[in-house]
């Protein structure tokens, strides 16, 4: 079994956030989809917010996350590099 490195975890989180479209995604859903613990997820989400890849939507009842244009660009670039490596039979 191979472990997931940080870049892969970030892309998994971004993919999960992306699925929420404009409404955004809650923490529980993100934990399930990205297969990550609460503490680690919150830490990475805060980093992603600080660099502008994800934005937080705060309401009275909940806290949701939405992907930014920069986040979408990051994901597209990650996919391009991933495809490039995969075409040589390798994985990022």
């Amino acid at each position: 079994m191979s472990y997931r490195h940080q870049v892969r975890i970030v892309s998994d989180i971004l993919l999960a956030v992306k699925e929420g479209h404009e409404d955004g995604v809650g923490v529980a859903q993100l934990m399930r989809k990205a297969n990550i613990s609460y503490t680690r997820l919150i830490k990475i989400l805060n980093e992603l917010i600080s660099v502008g890849l994800v934005e937080e939507i705060k309401s009275e009842r909940s806290r949701k996350y939405r992907i930014t244009y920069l986040g979408l660009e990051y994901l597209a670039e990650y996919e391009r590099f991933s495809t490039f490596a995969r075409n040589f039979g390798l994985e990022i």
């Binding site: 590099f81 495809t83 075409n87 994985e91």
Partner: protein, 202 residues
Amino acid sequence: MQFIEILGLFKMSLELLALVITFFAFLISYKGYSLTRRPVFARLSFAFIFISTNFLLQFFSDIFSLLKYGNVSYYFNVFSSFFEMLGFFFIAFSHMIRVYQEHRISFLPLVIINPVIAFKTLSLYFIFYAILESMISYAKMKSKTIILTVLGLIGFSLNILLSWISEFTVYPIILQVFALVFQAFGVIAFFVPIWIYYSGVR
């Protein structure tokens, strides 16, 4: 113009084309490493810059051969073979690391005879290993482009093998023609992943 000279010019054009393609592959790999810091891109960067250097030195070797500077051409050929071997080593090494991470065992037997032949032999080992591992990757990932990369690697390996055999034959011209055809095939096949990257096709 004699047939041998036309062949020489075709070989040199092919080397320039291969130089451009592998240099672009290096640029993509290096950009990948700068952005992701993943070691697989560092290894691919080394692989492609060495393979690219090999084509550049091979080009100079052919120019000196054309100008009848046999000795200089020979040394360029030795260095070119060395860089070719290093390049394919890094591709094979990337596969070795992947295999190691999946907890399987791999080994590489080594044979050394003389500089050019030793480097060519090592290149062949590394390419065969990369072909084998790429085929295993295809079985796992089912990406059709891997098949093309495998065919490209087979093209390069046949080119090296035929160039290697032509060192021992009295009339190597036919083997050299076939070697060039296989090299052209390898160059075209290696162009596809670069084209996919720049065009954004998946």
